[in-house]
Amino acid sequence: MSHPLSVLIVEDEVLLAVELGFLVREAGGVDVGHALDSADAVRLARTLKPDLALVDVHLSDGPTGVDAAREIAGSAGAIVLFMTANLKRLPDDLAGACGVIGKPYSDRAVRRAITFVARCLRDGAAPELPPPGLVLSETFVRRWGVDQLEAAG
């Protein structure tokens, strides 16, 4: 991946979305789009083909983020990262998402998480253990070799 990380932001709080846009650019990425509801999220994911989608569970059309994430991670082929205060609503497999950042998050935590995911995507493996605040799904712990890093201490 030689181009900068392209990121779709799926968040119904506009102020949070704007701030996430800043954080994406500060982490060296490009924010390519912003969706407020699940239909828009899936449509934008298909047309814009982002590398990464930051997805809230609660969107303007209800608690639809999990289903939207499944579509985006599935047919739209993007890496999904949940950003939510609703950790209990997430299914065990994280709906195909690579991980989750719990709200309330700090700007630093998000910047580090985006940088971490960008490097994992570029290299196909984790450069180090995930930064504080980022919890990876079991699938991605294995895919990016985080389990081996953990075993190595």
């Binding site: 800043f22 205060a85 209990k88 309330p104 998050y105 700090s106 580090r112 605040g133």
Partner: protein
């Protein structure tokens, strides 16, 4: 012998006239306790005697019941378990007590607390079963009502718990989202602010809100909502705080220490100020430095130490506290804690000492 036994009982009880010359038979006839005798040896075990109390209870006439097996008392809602229990006991020649749903002649059901005992002849063969019946419909109704009430109460309690849990999650969710919104507002405002001192003030506020947010995130992740682990909080806080200052080496030495959840936010704010203070005064930007955080338990107290390796206290150890330290002192008062600053040789060691009972 069995024939004789039969006849003997039949003679004494079934004779049309009973009088005081046979006080036992007269008593069985006259008692208000329903009583029956079944011939255990005749085919299908027919009733050979019933007293008036039995007839009153069931609504039948004597000639309608004698010679018949008692199963005419059973009906559509009689439990099969009870019927099987009766059959088992009578075929084994054993006594049995059970509650069985029976039906009067007019079809009205009643609960019959039935006791049956075998009567044996001299050879030990069962020749009769003597039964007594008590109408316990009222007791059964009360029991059923009690069970229904208990079940209803359990359901209500369960529903109340489910409602409460849902409400707690909803409130938790809203608080987290609102904290996130406050954080984002402060960050957005900081981005638009060019004046250095205003920026610094906004960043301080951001780190305070961040400390409260960290507490809240931890509080609802744990299973115990009443207690709060200081070590976990400090680890989270430092995970966030150091990322901007890679040149500072952070050393954590954390014993797991619980405090009451109500103290979590003030303590978190105080620790946040001490760390912030160390970064500001002890660890000048661009200079490699060392920050040590220790949490431990000592003689009924919790000790939280924040040490830097910077220039140390001004000569004489006196300094004018800024806003951050002023609120730290106030928070320490609230926590019944003592706050001290000492020379750490090098640097400064700030110590917060709390009573461990809180």
């Amino acid at each position: 012998m069995a024939e004789q036994g039969n006849r003997f009982l039949a003679d004494s009880l079934l004779a049309p006239k009973v009088g005081i010359d046979d006080p036992f038979a007269a008593a069985v006839h006259a008692t208000r306790m329903s009583m029956t005798i079944v011939d255990a040896q005749a085919p299908d075990m027919p009733l050979v005697f019933v007293n008036d109390a039995f007839l009153n209870m069931t609504g039948y006439a004597r000639n309608e019941v004698l010679g018949r097996n008692c199963r005419f008392l059973q009906g559509p809602d009689t439990e099969q378990d009870a019927i099987r229990g009766l059959a088992r006991a009578t075929s084994a020649g054993e006594p049995v007590n059970l509650d069985i749903l029976n039906y009067r002649k007019d079809g009205v059901p009643f609960w019959n607390a039935l006791q049956i005992s075998p009567v044996r002849n001299a050879e030990g063969q069962v020749v009769y079963f003597i039964g007594s019946q008590v109408d316990v419909t009222a007791r059964k109704a009360a029991e059923t009502a009690l069970e229904a009430a208990a079940a209803e109460q359990a359901k209500t309690a369960q529903q109340a718990l489910a409602d409460r849990t849902a409400l707690l999650h909803e409130v938790d969710h809203r608080v987290k989202n609102n904290l996130q919104l406050i954080t984002s507002l402060l960050v957005l405002q900081t981005r638009r602010t060019l004046d250095d001192s205003t920026r610094a003030a906004l960043q301080s506020m951001l780190s305070r809100v961040g400390a409260i947010a960290t507490v809240h995130r931890r509080l609802f992740q744990s299973h115990d909502l009443e207690r709060f682990d200081v070590a976990t909080f400090v680890r989270d806080l430092m995970g966030d705080a150091t990322s901007g200052r890679e040149e500072v080496e952070v050393e954590l030495d954390l014993e797991s220490v619980d405090i009451a959840a109500a103290q979590a936010a003030p303590l978190a704010l105080a620790v946040n100020e001490l760390v912030d203070n160390a970064f500001k005064h002890g660890l000048a930007p661009g200079r490699p430095g060392r920050l040590a955080l220790r949490v431990r338990r000592l003689n009924g107290h919790f000790i939280i130490e924040v040490c830097d390796d910077g220039p140390g206290l001004p000569p004489g150890g006196q300094f004018e506290p800024g806003f951050g330290l002023t609120i730290t002192q106030l928070l320490a008062q609230q926590l019944r804690a003592t706050l001290t600053f000492e020379s750490g040789e090098p640097g400064v060691r700030a110590t917060l000492k709390l009573p461990a009972d809180g």
